[in-house]
Symmetry: C2
Subunit: 438 residues, 2 copies
């Protein structure tokens, strides 16, 4: 099975756990059997691999998410990187071309496109296999997955099918109706549009060539910035007469807000937290190293990270976006391909961060034009390269790097260090990368 | 006017702002005219100085609070340090002897003893002057301040006066009655006992000599650890027939819990915080550098510090003590006589703290038996002395100190530095102090 996972942009609806560079799909919030936690991305990826160990999974995403994806899924996963955001049609076209031209998949094979963040049971991925089989039959150009509605929601699009069969042709689509209208649709057998669909690779490639002048994946990638923003629904679905839909009756949740996310959480406390017995419906998700104490609260979500602290009535939590948009703040933590970092302290002309490198990983070889840096190794061992000079480092070692000097650190074991940045203009953008030759 | 301020022990009722070494009186929570904040201690001290610029103020407290008091009030304030806690009678006797033997105050002069944490208007301190004048008249051996009750509280002791005059003799005391009984007392003109009283220094000195075998302040200090724990009420008040009470009708609040403390706060947000319009009665006290967002909450206090995060229904906040007692945690921040420190990160064999030294101040000259240390200067300038070698330091400088090496840092301007502690056994107790000779 070929799968394209659409990994969407930065969402602030799950602030403070999501931020400008960490989208909700990367938050580790779902308990695994071994007691550790995994993210939506990890959960979905492992579910796919469980349903089909040989599945070719390609994640369509922006440059900003590549590090986090490699950090969470390892370096083997296929990623179709969008050089910039151009809406879903260019993104799906690029990922499709990636499968054919880079992964060398036969254009006659089907692919299933799926958002990265559904909260579903394993049977959902079995249904995805049926979807691929159905697309392969070519009775229609597109096969959608329709979710059996559980209530007349106003926030989903509805698919009106021609019949009540498991697989049937689509009569028409209805965008987010009122609750009353939604109820009528449901009575007629309508289904929620979950944004999952399958097609033969060739079908979307042909559509792409109709609309965009390009040679192959590499050419499309090169001119990606010049493409017009257009959604897949608008560019393809609305103009397609031959669409089928396959019904899915299992549990399906869209975990877009704290309210829905906490419903899917198995525990009331993740991280350090205490809830007193006079509280009910309280959930704590705490990424900080200090305890949270909740007393006498009802139906409240409390979440803390290096970015901030949210305390919200569960229902009200759907409305956080405008408030969070007003919080202007530098990114306080990030997952990178080589590990992670967390801002510990900010002074006018100094910033202190904690860097954790995964074993065997290293930063880019780089320099800064406007700041000096000092590393103090807290734990682990590895090597630094500073202006071409290699040096072994371990706990307690200090490395000083002046403005302009080229440097990197390579972790042998897990390596933790304090990095003090010193300068009048400290910014993430002040970074010149080099090839490491030594 | 001579004043003894009783600065009580560590309270956890205002966790996470109070901790094992920072008592509630040190929390900066009251807005001054210039927009900055002051603590209960600072507020009371400045109110006393406003009422009587020449007042001799002695703070009776434990060793653990001395640094914080000097940090908040400067080095001029008199402190009677209790070598260990021995309840209020030994503490008041020691402070009284301190006034006579160290401050050389005439034993015939009166003194007013007052807790450090009443939340009162300036007129309260005018009333304290009256109290001193009354004690000086020696119509009674003790003159108490009685607070005009505003409701039949069950949590205060009641003073039953002989008449309804401004100053009158005390008939008897009643400890924390039921609300019904309290109401009867109030109808009879009873007053709350605020723990404020005045006497001639000689009176308590004589009582002390009756009960304890000692020469003078220095001798009493030396044998303090051998004294029996006994309260001033039990040792003195209960055996005294000649006690007067002076009525105080102004505003008086005892800020012992979050519920009462937030009533006294002028603003709903101290520090970084946003409260949405669907919330009411929400107050935020945030000492962290990250924002708190409160959505759709009613009558909730949210407080965050390096120690932890409290989110509590205001009424429930009175019951936090047992929960906080169960949170075992190292002290994450502290005010010292030379400045302050904050723990930024804890690893198994490494701890990273941020140290801020006030201009002109320095740490003790000291060494550690079980850890190396590294300083990275973030801001400011000063000098270090390491094993007798003096060195100028400023932003960006790195100082490494091996186990056993003697070191200190002297701030010329305000000096901020990151200190990384490295070793298998990192503890606050691992500290050997030396005289600095260079």
């Amino acid at each position: 099975m070929n799968i394209i996972l659409l990994s969407g942009g930065s969402g602030k609806r799950l602030w403070p756990l999501s931020n400008d560079i960490r989208s909700k799909q990367f938050i580790k919030i779902f308990k695994k059997e071994d007691g550790t936690y995994e993210s939506m991305l990890q959960r979905v990826y492992h579910q796919i691999k469980k349903a089909d160990a040989s599945a070719t999974v390609t994640i369509a995403t922006s440059k900003a998410q590549v590090s986090a994806i490699h950090n969470q899924l390892g370096s083997d996963v296929g990623i179709s990187v969008e050089p910039c955001r151009r809406d879903t049609f260019p993104a799906i076209a690029l990922a499709t071309a990636y499968l054919v031209d880079v992964m060398k998949v036969n254009p006659e094979e089907p692919v299933v496109v799926c958002p990265v963040d559904p909260y579903v049971e394993d049977c959902y991925f079995e249904a995805m296999k049926d979807l691929a089989v159905q697309a392969d039959k070519a009775e229609a150009n597109l096969v959608l997955m329709g979710i059996q509605p559980t209530y007349p929601s106003e926030k989903y699009g509805y698919i009106i099918p021609e019949s009540n069969e498991y697989i049937t042709y689509v009569k028409t689509f209805k965008e987010k109706p009122s609750a009353d209208t939604a109820k009528e649709y449901i009575d007629q057998g309508a289904l929620w549009n979950a944004g999952v669909f399958a097609y033969k690779l060739k079908y979307v490639l042909d559509k792409a060539h109709e609309l965009i002048d390009f040679e192959d994946y590499y050419d499309l990638f090169a001119k990606y910035g010049t493409l017009t923003k257009i959604s897949f629904d608008y560019a393809v679905v609305e103009n397609e007469d031959k669409i089928q839909v396959q019904r899915f009756k299992g549990q399906w949740k869209d975990l877009g807000t704290w309210n829905t996310l906490t419903e899917a959480m198995e525990e009331s406390v993740i991280g350090k937290g205490i809830i007193n017995t006079q509280s009910s419906g309280v959930q704590i998700v705490n990424e900080m190293d200090i305890p949270i104490l909740a007393m006498g609260l009802q139906d409240v979500i409390i979440s803390a990270s290096a970015e901030g602290i949210l305390v919200s009535d569960k229902e009200q939590s759907s409305y956080i976006k405008p408030y969070v948009d007003n919080i202007e703040q530098q990114v306080m933590f990030a997952e990178k391909s080589w590990g992670s970092y967390r801002v510990m302290d900010v002074e006018t002309e100094a910033m202190t961060i904690k860097v954790t490198l995964n074993p065997g990983h290293s930063m880019n070889y780089h320099s800064h034009a406007h700041r000096d840096e000092v590393w103090v190794v807290l734990a682990g061992s590895g090597r630094t390269v500073v202006d071409g000079m290699e040096q072994k480092i371990s706990s307690g070692d200090v490395v000083t790097m002046s403005t302009g000097c080229r440097h990197t650190v390579i972790a042998e074991t897990e390596l933790k260090l304090v990095e003090v940045q010193l300068g009048k203009e400290i910014s993430v953008g002040d970074k010149q990368k080099y090839e490491l030759e030594y």
